[in-house]
């Protein structure tokens, strides 16, 4: 199992609950071990299993949730 950590820059969050929403969506993705979104820094730190899920898929998921996202 090859766990890697990446940081994603997220725009358009209104409050800390948006972070909760994003974490919830990401952690439901298969292969994502944990997601921690910091509202103040507008950064999401995601830990996932390489090969099971890709960072592109993760970013797409954030976008689907309604936020702008790109790799930090």
């Amino acid at each position: 199992m090859n766990l890697i950590k990446k940081r994603i820059l997220i725009e358009d969050m209104h409050c800390t609950s948006c972070g909760m929403l994003i974490d919830g969506e990401l952690e439901e993705l298969e292969g994502v071990k944990s997601s921690t979104t910091n509202y103040a820094k507008a950064v999401c730190e995601v830990e996932f299993e390489e090969g099971v899920v890709s960072i592109e898929e993760i970013i797409t998921k954030v976008k689907e949730t309604g936020y702008k996202a790109r790799l930090f």
Binding site: H14, C15, S17, G19, M20, Y39, G66
Partner: protein
């Protein structure tokens, strides 16, 4: 406290920011329950009951929270001065939240306190529950995921220094969030970002008003000369219509004591402007008219006078004005004020 503005803030911002998330969570509960009902061959779609259960529980939880925060404020208000500083801090905090809503600078994002992850996880888990009481539980648990505006209201509730005022503030705010929640149901999540941004602006203005009045009120109670009331004194005045004269000219002298009477009402003082001569003993008769809120506490910060007024009848304060100029008298929170001009 301007409960209407608090309500209005709820109506605008509370209706949207938190709602985008809370509505989404509630939607997820409703979907879970629908799946259950489908299994039981109940095809009726139930959204109204869970929505109301959610809202009522939320309102109840916030009223209790407001009560506790007010109580905390009361405990912290060890002195009048400290209470005023607390009110000032709350005012600046509210302003920081408003500036964050207006996207003035990313630094203001730090004003929004992020709840710990175990709490947000708990809230999320609740939203996946199929339990009958899950919508109500979720409603109550929203106190753990406050948005910036909610935090601003909580700061005001603490600075109110009274459990009942705190409960009223939080109650008015959450009540304000209800109409939009019912109107839009849980579909708010689909609202576009540009519409949201527009709405947030109005909420920010309401917050700026609350923040500025809070800071100003603290300055009034601290006896500062830099207050909005004094500022408006030096600005040119435009009078429309027939303003009620509230000025009482030089107080009559009885037995060598200049005597004035001020009617104390629940919403202020009448007259709110009295004129006294310097270096001559003065007596002010405070006549209580009707039910008092924060006006039940009368203060002249400059002279260090503070008096808790009787419920009915009248109270007397005596002093000898020395410094020529204007000084402010005020209620405990600095919301209602008047001027004593010493000539």
């Amino acid at each position: 406290m301007n409960l209407w503005v608090v309500f209005l803030t709820g109506l605008t911002v509370g209706g949207l920011t938190c709602l985008a998330v809370q509505g989404g969570l509630l939607a997820s509960i409703i979907t879970e329950r629908e799946k259950e009902n489908l299994g039981k061959k109940k095809h009726k779609k139930e959204t109204l009951i869970p929505t109301f259960a959610f809202l009522i529980a939320k309102l109840g939880a916030y009223i209790i929270l407001g009560f506790v925060l007010g109580l905390l404020g009361q405990t912290l208000s060890l002195s009048d001065k400290f209470a005023s500083y607390m009110q000032m801090a709350a005012g600046f905090y509210v302003l920081a939240i408003a500036l964050n809503l207006l996207d003035v600078h990313p630094i203001f994002r730090y004003a929004v306190i992020q709840p710990p992850k175990f709490l947000t996880r708990k809230v999320r888990d609740t939203s996946k529950s199929k339990e009958l009481f899950a919508p109500a539980l979720l409603g109550a648990m929203t106190i753990f995921i406050p948005c910036g505006t909610t935090l601003a209201m909580e700061a005001l509730a603490i600075s109110s220094g009274s459990p009942f005022a705190g409960a009223l503030i939080m109650g008015a705010f959450v009540l304000g969030t209800v109409p939009l929640f019912i109107a839009l149901g849980y579909v708010t999540i689909a609202i576009g970002h540009s519409f949201k941004a527009q709405f947030l602006k109005y909420a920010a203005y309401a917050l700026i008003y609350l923040g500025v009045t809070s800071v100003n009120a603290s300055l009034v109670s601290l006896g500062s000369s830099f207050t909005l009331q004094n500022l408006s004194d030096v600005l040119p005045k435009v009078t429309i219509g027939n303003p009620k004269p509230t000025t009482l000219t030089t107080a009559p002298v009885v037995d060598g004591v200049q005597t004035a009477e001020i009617g104390v009402y629940g919403n202020g003082y009448r007259p709110n402007y009295i004129r006294l001569k310097a270096n001559q003993p003065a007596r002010i008769n405070l006549v209580v008219k009707g039910n008092l809120g924060c006006t039940s506490f009368f203060r002249i910060p400059e002279l260090g006078i503070s008096k808790n007024l009787v419920d009915t009848g009248s109270d007397i304060i005596e002093f000898t004005p020395k410094r020529v100029g204007k000084m402010t008298f005020t209620c405990s929170m600095g919301m209602y004020t008047g001027v004593i001009e010493v000539i």
